[in-house]
Structures are given as C-alpha cells and as structure tokens.
C-alpha cells in the first residue's frame, strides 16, 4: 500500500467535522461494502446505504480528491472517509482487480481537466506580457480607494469610542440601546471593508457586564482599536512591515500569490504543536495550525478555512512533523505562513519527531519580544516547560514554575474532560504545555513529556486538544 493517507489520524484530519468522523467510523465494517478495491492511484468501493442501489465511492489519492454518488452535502462525505479508514486498516485489497469502468471514467475525466488547465496556463505564459506599469498603477489606485474607505470607517469608530469614554463605560451596563449601537458599529466596519474590526467589536460586546472587572477589559479593547485608528491615519508613515501587520489586523488579507512571491521560503522540520478549529458565521470553519520549527526555532501559524463542510486542503495531523518549506506573510514578528505550493503531498509522509527541550527556550522573553514587535496581534503562541496542572475550586490552573519549588498560577482554558485526561496520563508529573495566550488566559492545545527522566531528553506529545474535530 502506498504511504499516502495510511493511518486513521491522517484520514480523519480531512474530515469536515466531528459528526462526519463519527459517521465514517460507523461504516467501517467491511460487510457494509459489497465491493472494494484500490491501486496505486485510487481507492474505490460500493457502500450499501439505505437505498436499493449501493453508493459508488471513489478517492483519487494523488490530491486527494473524493467523489461519491450519495446525496450528502458534506465534503468529503462519510463514505469517502470510511473507505479510506478501511484502507488504513488494511481491509481494502490492492491491485486485486482492475478499476471498474465508473472509476476509470472519473479519473480519466480529471486527468483531461488537468491537461486542459495546463495547456491554458502554457498559452497564457506564451502570450505577450501585459504592460507591467499599467497593471501596477491600476492596483495602486484600487488600494488607495480601499484605504480611504477604511480611514473614513476608522474616523467614525474613533468618534464613537470617544463618546463612550466621555460618558463613562459604566453606563454601558444599563443602557438598553447599547447592544443595537454596538452591532450597528460592527456592521459599519464590514461596510468599510474591515471585517476583522467587525469581529472584534462583536467579541468585545460579550465582555460588557460579564464579570466584575469588565470595564477594564472593555477599555483594553477600545485602547487596542485606538492603536489601529492611529495606524490607519498615519498609514503613509508606516514601514512596509508594520503596514502589513495593520492590514492583517483589519482583515485585509494578502493575496496568496503575493505571499509566495515575496522573500525566500523557510525550510524546516515543522512540528504541529496545536490545531484549533473554530466555527465562524455561515458554516465557515476556521482552522489554526501552530507549527514549531525544530531547526530554526521559529513559530508559524497556518490559517485556513473550510466553507460549508468542504474539508481542508492539507491534512496537518497534530503531533506529527513535516519537512517542508513555508512562506511567511510579511510583518514584524511574522507568524502567519503558507505552505509552498505543491507540497501538500509531502505533508502525508512524515513521522512524529520528538521535540528537543531546548526548542522551548525562554517563552516569556519571546512573548514580550513578539508583543513589542507587533502589539496588534492579540493571540500569541506560548510554551511552558516543567508546568503542572491543578484544579482549584473547579477552575483549572497551570502551575508555572517560578523559583525553587514554587509555582505561579496561570488560569488555563481547557475542557474539564481534557484536563482530567491529562492528569490521568501524567499523574501530576511536570510537562511542557503549549497553547494560545490571550488576555491573560491560556488556551491549552498540547502537552509534551520526555520518556526518560534525563533533563535533556526530547519530548513526546502526550496530549492534544482535539477540540470538536474528533
């Protein structure tokens, strides 16, 4: 069997949501599949569904691409996933039978499309290059227009914030109109082409009157927006890197092609130290993959989206490492990165390498430097070596080693069940923890421990926050 998608974890990483993973696991009995087969490039099978005619399921392993005759809107559907799970479990015969007609016609069709696309690209390349100057001019004009629009929006936001501070934040708690005003302002930010600003306003509203110290929280949010107001106003004075940070913070994403065109890619062994899935509005799933570079010591964040249950392009499996090159988005203390095009296949062929203890380094110092370089990024990656977990009055705390035998408490965001699993696995022994640090709280994403007690022994992953993905 080829090594592509050969384990359950790799297959499930392609799943659009937890429900699909569960449904696929329910179809894992070979008796539900009257026929199955595979060769080097594809897997196929017929699955007995509720109807009289079995569903025809097929997977092109080179991409991977899925096709199934079932009516599900999920992509890939449970049948596709189940077929790959069966294959991972060694239950699908390989090379035993030739591809049935329905499989070969689909694969040939795909191949034709690829060839057509290539021919078209070749034709494009052969055509005389457009006037570079004119194109650049047009683009600069478009960008100026957007900046003006954003600046106007920010001015509106600024006046609104000043009003709030003038009247006092305390009045927000009892103001029946406040909610409408906040959501109106969030909508105005979308109009001004600053979607990330809109999200921030909506999130900040959740803070109002939510706990005793909420006015400070809200002020910290407003202050953060003030930074952006000033940055947009002085945009012409900003360096290219800071400008890129401001754009990212406002939700003006850079074109992927531009990211790939800029600078040299960073090659490393990238260890997936955390994966977080978040549901956004309109059936949109956001996936944040945190990668620790084992050689460079760099931290990278690969952010991608899956719309309407369509699954993610690349199957990053938490706890595994990948030898590949990443292109970083521009910015100071840049973290967001893109996988160099065409390397998605390479993602599937790596093992889990241990994490050298030294990689963790001085996490607090790194945190300070990152925030100082780019104060606009609110979510920061954070490691802690030799940490312990403790439940006090029903709240989970990380006991951060402070000095000899003394610990400082850091509130941890972790599901009760996950925290107890971690306790069960470690027995209270110190471990390395990784998570997203935000507003003084720490959302834990993974835990690591050495197999031996030697101080410099490399760390193995003992726990991963699977969120709702599995």
């Amino acid at each position: 069997m080829s090594r592509v998608l050969a384990t359950e974890a790799e297959v499930l990483a392609l799943s659009p949501d937890a429900a699909s993973s569960k449904a696929a696991k329910g179809l894992q009995s070979i008796s539900q599949w009257p026929t199955t087969g595979s060769d080097g490039g594809a897997v196929w099978g017929e699955c007995q569904g509720s109807g009289s005619k079995p569903y025809q399921t097929q997977v092109d392993l080179s991409v991977p691409a899925f096709k199934c005759s079932c009516p599900s809107r999920k992509f890939p559907c449970k049948h596709g996933l189940a077929l790959l799970l069966l294959r991972a479990a060694g239950q699908v015969p390989e090379g035993a039978a030739p591809r049935p007609q329905w499989v070969s016609s689909w694969l040939d069709g795909r191949q034709n499309k690829v060839e057509q696309k290539e021919a078209k690209a070749a034709a494009m390349a052969a055509a005389p290059p457009p006037d570079r100057e004119a194109v650049a001019k047009q683009q600069a004009k478009r960008e100026d227009k957007r900046w003006d629009k954003m600046a106007a929006g920010m001015q509106e936001l600024s006046l609104w914030m000043q009003d709030m501070v003038r009247n006092g934040l305390a009045t927000l708690a009892g103001d029946s109109q406040a909610r409408a005003q906040w959501s109106n302002m969030a909508a105005r930010m979308v109009d001004a082409q600053m979607p990330a600003m809109s999200t921030r306003i909506k999130e900040a509203w959740q803070r109002v009157d939510s706990h005793p110290a909420w006015p400070k929280d809200v002020l910290v949010h407003l202050a953060h927006w003030q930074l952006l107001v000033d940055a947009v106003q002085h945009r012409d004075a900003l360096s290219a890197e800071v400008k890129a940070d401001v754009m990212a913070a406002l939700g003006w994403p850079m074109d992927k092609a531009d990211v790939l065109a800029q600078g040299a890619p960073v090659a490393d062994e990238w260890l997936v130290v955390g994966v977080r899935l978040m549901e956004r509005e309109g059936r949109l799933m956001e996936r944040r993959v945190w990668l620790q570079g084992l050689q460079t010591g760099r931290m990278a964040l690969v952010l991608d989206y899956s719309q309407g249950g369509r699954g993610f392009e690349a199957a990053w499996v938490a706890g595994r490492s990948y030898r590949c090159s990443l292109h970083f988005y521009p910015g100071k203390a840049a973290q967001r990165a893109l996988l160099v095009h065409g390397q998605a296949d390479a993602l599937m062929e790596q093992a889990a390498w241990p994490l050298p203890t030294a990689t963790i380094g001085q996490p607090l110092q790194q945190l300070t430097q990152r925030i100082a370089a780019n104060p606009l990024q609110t979510v920061q990656p954070l490691w802690c070596a030799q940490a312990r977990l403790q439940s006090v009055d029903g709240q989970w705390l990380v006991a951060w080693p402070a000095s000899q035998d003394r610990f400082a408490p850091v509130p941890a965001r972790i599901a009760d069940n996950d925290a107890w699993s971690l306790m069960a696995l470690t027995g209270g022994e110190p471990m390395a923890l990784f998570g997203e640090w935000e507003e003084g709280g720490w959302r834990l994403l993974s835990a690591w421990q050495a197999n031996t007690s030697a101080a410099s022994a490399p760390l193995q992953c003992v726990w991963l926050n699977r969120g709702e993905a599995v």
């Binding site: 009995s29 202050a223 069960a424 027995g427």
Partner: protein, 563 residues
C-alpha cells in the same frame, strides 16, 4: 507617580466618564525625564495632540495596555475566579504526584482503541467482563482510559465493584482529586463500619450488613440485634431480609423473636427465613400441622384436607386466619399460606415423592391450586435445586420463569450446562428462547465452556446460517439472543461466530422454474423477505456484535501471551 498609578487613573476616568473625572493635570504638564522610559512613553501618549481628552485617554490606555501585555508574568494577579486566599497559597507549592503503579497495563494499541470505544459508546454489558478479565490477569486499565472508566463508575454503582480492582494507583489518585470520583479513592472502602452503621444512610447500612453477612454472619446478626430497638419498621424490613445471606440455625433465636415484631412485614420476613431452615422449631410446627391434614387411603395414596377451623397458634407463625374480602375459599387460603411456609423437604420426606411426583400427585387433588402456588412461592425463598428439573419442564409457565436464575446460581457450571444442553436440543425453532434461558442463568462476566459453545454455535448455524432462518430472528428477541451469544460463547469459537456476518453473503439463489410461474402473494413475499433478514442487517446491532467479538478476542490475545 508610577505607571501602575497612571494606568489605574485612566481606568477610573474611563469608567465614570472623562468629562466627570478628568485625567489629573500633573501628568499632562510635562514628561519627567528622570522617569523610566516606559513612563515617558505613557506620558508622551497622553500629551500627543488629540481631538479630545477622550482620545488622549484612549491613546494613553493603548500604550499602557500594550506594556502590561508585554510585561506579563505568571501569577502577577490572582485569577478572578478563585476567591479564597488559602487556595492561592496552596498553589504556590508543588501539587501532589501520583504513586507508582504496581500492576502492568495492556499496551496493545488496537485493544486500547476497542476498550475506549466500549467505554464511550457501549454496549455497557461489555464493561464488567472487560474489567474482570484485566483483574484476572493481574493487570489494570491503561492511564488513557481512566477518565471514561471513572465516569462510568460514577454513573453506575453496580459497576464499581468490577472497576475498583483495575483502577490502579493512578485511578485512585484521580479519585482523591476529583470529588465526583471520590468512590474510587478507596476512602469509602476503608471507612470504619461502626461509623457507617451509626451515621450512614439506610442503603449504606443495609450494604454494610449484607457484606458482613458474607464474611462474618455472627457479627452481622449481633450488630442487627443490638440495634433493633432504635430501628423503624421501614428500616427493619430490609435488614432482616439481609439475614438470608449465610442463613443458619444460629439465626433461629433472633428470627423466632422477630415473629412477635410489631411490623407485619418483619413478621412475614422472619417466618419465610425460618421456613428455609427445615430444622427450625417454626418449620417443625408448620410440618406438624400439615401432617395432621394428611391421610393415606386404602390404596396407600395420600389425601390432604385442611381443617374446618383455623388454629389461634397459626397466626404467630405467619398464617392469617381471617382472609381478605376477595378470597373465596378460606380453607384453601389457609392451606396455601401454610405450604408457602413449609420446608419443601417436608413434602418430599413425608410423602416419599420427588418434586415431579408431587406435582403429578397434586393434579388429582381438590386442593391442587393452593398446593402448587404454595410450593412455587416456597421455592422463591428456599432455592431447592432438586426442584429445578420440574421447573425446566414448565418452561412456558410464567410462574416458573423468575425462579430459575436463583436456582441455577446454586449449581456448578457443569450442572448448569447439562440443563442448557437439553434445552439446546429442542430444535432450532426454539433456539432464541433457549439462548435467553442461558443468558438469564449465566453469572455476570462468565462464559460458557468450549464444548457447550461449540454445540450452541452448531445449532445457531443450522438456524440462521442458511438462506432462510428458522425461528423469529428478525425481532428484538433475535437481536438480543445473538448479542448474548457474542457475549457468552467461549473465546475459542468467537471467530467462527463472527463468520456468520463477516463472510460475504451469497447472492439470492435462482428461484426454481415451478415457483416462478406462481407469483407470491404480498403476504408470502413479506414473510420470505423477513426470513432473509438477520439481526446484523441492523447497523447498530452489527456494530455491537463486531465490538463485542473484537474486544473479547483482543483482550484474550493480550492477556494470555502464552497462547
């Protein structure tokens, strides 16, 4: 003047409104060049040209907030959610570590996956045998499975007895940390019985008495006797009934005393227990009264006739003289009560008959119903296995059914299996019922012998291995019976069992020409379809079957490395 003071003032001002509480002028006056660079930055932000004092405040807050974030160190401020100072103090020292394990745990990954599925998704009946198998092999649960296992234990008290031995040190340690899992920490088990007896709930006290009866019946009796005066009638009933465990002649004096209890229920319970002691004075008195009713006719056949008048003495021994209004014949009613309280041995000795012969004899008696009802009621307390063959022949009698498990539990496995083998041979049509019988009589976490398993599987193949099933297999009972097979059959035949649904199914046979000409009626068609259906055509049953077989095989392979 420090950064913290400025930041606090900014917050205060923003809270009540900068128009009402202005930023102190002294900070706006000028930058103190001797101050720390951070403070200079903060003041510079305050003094920068702005549209309003509100904007000044926001801009300075921005600087302060970034500095606060960049300079964050763990433990700087106490987490808001934790109120008590004591908890914070406790935090600054290292949390306790779990003790080292003394038992090994299975390491096989596939087995762990199967165990995890069983814990998360059931079926629940798999858990007890699973824990039992681990314990038998001297092993414990892997650490990764402790959380779901403890959660199951929290929800099911019955499961705890099986779970406790395989929790290991780590599981007990977790139990000491998480209050809902306290049952696992071993605190309850070590609790002083005197404390439980004095302060426990009624359930805990009955549990204590029950377990003490198993190990030290005399002490348990003494404990109950000593406390009788303080107990209410409601409490006395289950406690007196607990004496059924380890019942012996030593208990007679107390039971005899309880025949005079104020509570009717206690009196009845005591009388029933005494009837299970054939040598007790109570049993002798009942036997004497019955003997007086028995006569032998000229042919030597026994006749029975209850007296016309009830005796006052009967009442004390648990026989009511005045019947409730719905009872018609008072004599029959007296007789039935007396038979219920008679030792079954008395009948077999006095009439010199086997249970089957007694049953036959009663058939031609005027008092057939009181006799038979009385014997069956007596069996519920006396568990006399000599009556088992008779009950087996009464298979479809609703009265016999519930008596069987308790009687079967008194037999050795070989004796039980001999009975079940007979039931298996009654034909494939009655196989579902036979499996149900076996299932209800087999103790939890035990399996059938290889020999009986093979035989059962042979019959099962005859019933459903072919195209048409014999018996009602497409039904709730059918599902239940097949799942019971997966649970009970000896591990050596399990893979053959799973071949039933794992072997590829044959395509429908070609219908012979003669039949094809005559189309089936919808009813016949329906029946044919149903005869083709099998329990595993239901996906949820299939999943349970697979999981049961796979888990048992994997457990067996991992825990018996010699094989």
């Amino acid at each position: 003047m420090s950064n913290a003071q400025i930041w606090a003032a900014l917050q205060q001002s923003a809270l009540v409104g900068v128009d009402r509480l202005a930023i102190p002028g002294v900070w706006l006056a000028g930058v103190d060049e001797a101050a720390a660079p951070t403070q200079q930055a903060l003041q510079a932000a305050l003094r920068a040209p702005a549209q309003s004092s509100a904007e000044q405040l926001l801009r300075a807050s921005a600087v302060a907030a970034v500095m606060e974030r960049a300079g964050w160190t763990p433990g700087q401020q106490a987490p808001q959610e934790i109120s008590s100072k004591q908890s914070i103090a406790a935090l600054t020292v290292a949390p306790p570590l779990a003790p080292a394990e003394s038992r090994a745990a299975p390491t096989d990954e596939r087995l762990q996956t199967l165990m995890r599925e069983a814990l998360h998704e059931g079926p629940e009946y798999l858990l007890e045998p699973m824990f039992h198998a681990l314990d038998q092999a001297g092993q414990r649960l892997p650490h990764g499975l402790l959380v779901p296992a403890l959660e199951q234990g929290r929800q099911s008290v019955e499961l705890r007895a099986w779970l406790m031995p395989v929790l290991g040190e780590r599981g007990r340690w977790l139990g000491s940390l998480n209050p809902p899992w306290r049952f696992a920490s071993g605190v309850q088990e070590r609790a002083d019985p005197e404390v439980v007896w004095q302060e426990g709930s009624i359930n805990q006290r009955v549990d204590l008495l029950t377990s003490e009866r198993q190990t030290d019946p005399t002490q348990a009796r003494a404990r109950l006797e000593g406390s009788l005066k303080e107990l209410s009638a409601k409490e006395r009933v289950p406690m007196v009934q607990a004496l059924a465990i380890g019942l012996a002649m030593e208990d007679e004096p107390l039971l005899e005393k309880l025949l005079n209890d104020r509570s009717k229920e206690v009196r009845e319970s005591a009388a029933r227990l005494l009837s299970a002691l054939p040598d007790s004075a109570h049993s002798q008195r009942i036997a004497a009264w019955l003997r007086a009713m028995l006569t032998q006719d000229s042919k030597g056949e026994w006749q029975i006739e209850p007296p016309e008048e009830g005796l006052k003495d009967w009442e004390r021994d648990g026989i009511s003289i005045k019947p409730p209004s719905y009872i018609k014949g008072v004599k029959g009613w007296w007789l039935q009560q007396m038979v219920e309280l008679s030792p079954l041995t008395f009948w077999m000795q006095a009439l010199d008959k086997t249970p089957e012969q007694l049953w036959e004899w009663s058939k031609r008696r005027d008092w057939k119903t009181p006799l038979r009802q009385g014997w069956l009621a007596a069996l519920a307390y006396q568990h006399d296995v000599r009556w088992l063959p008779l009950l087996q022949t009464m298979e479809r009698d609703a009265r016999a059914e519930p008596l069987l498990p308790a009687l079967l539990a008194r037999l050795t496995p070989a004796q039980r299996e001999a009975i079940w083998r007979v039931q298996l041979e009654r034909g494939t049509g009655r196989l579902v019922a036979a499996i149900e019988h076996i299932d209800s009589g087999l103790p939890v976490a035990e399996q059938l012998s290889p020999a009986l398993s093979t035989r059962l599987l042979d019959v099962l193949y005859q019933a459903i291995g072919g195209k048409q099933a014999t018996g009602n297999w497409y039904s709730y009972e059918g599902d239940h019976a097949l799942l019971a097979c997966a649970r009970m059959l000896h591990v050596s035949v399990l893979s053959r069992l799973s071949d039933l649904w794992r072997q590829p199914r044959h395509a429908d046979a070609v219908v012979p020409d003669g039949e094809a000409k005559r189309p089936l009626t919808p009813d016949q068609q329906d029946k044919l379809e149903r005869a083709k259906r099998r329990p595993w055509d239901d996906v949820s049953i299939l999943v349970q079957l697979d999981r049961t077989v796979d888990l048992r095989l994997a457990l067996h392979a991992a825990l018996n490395p010699a094989l």
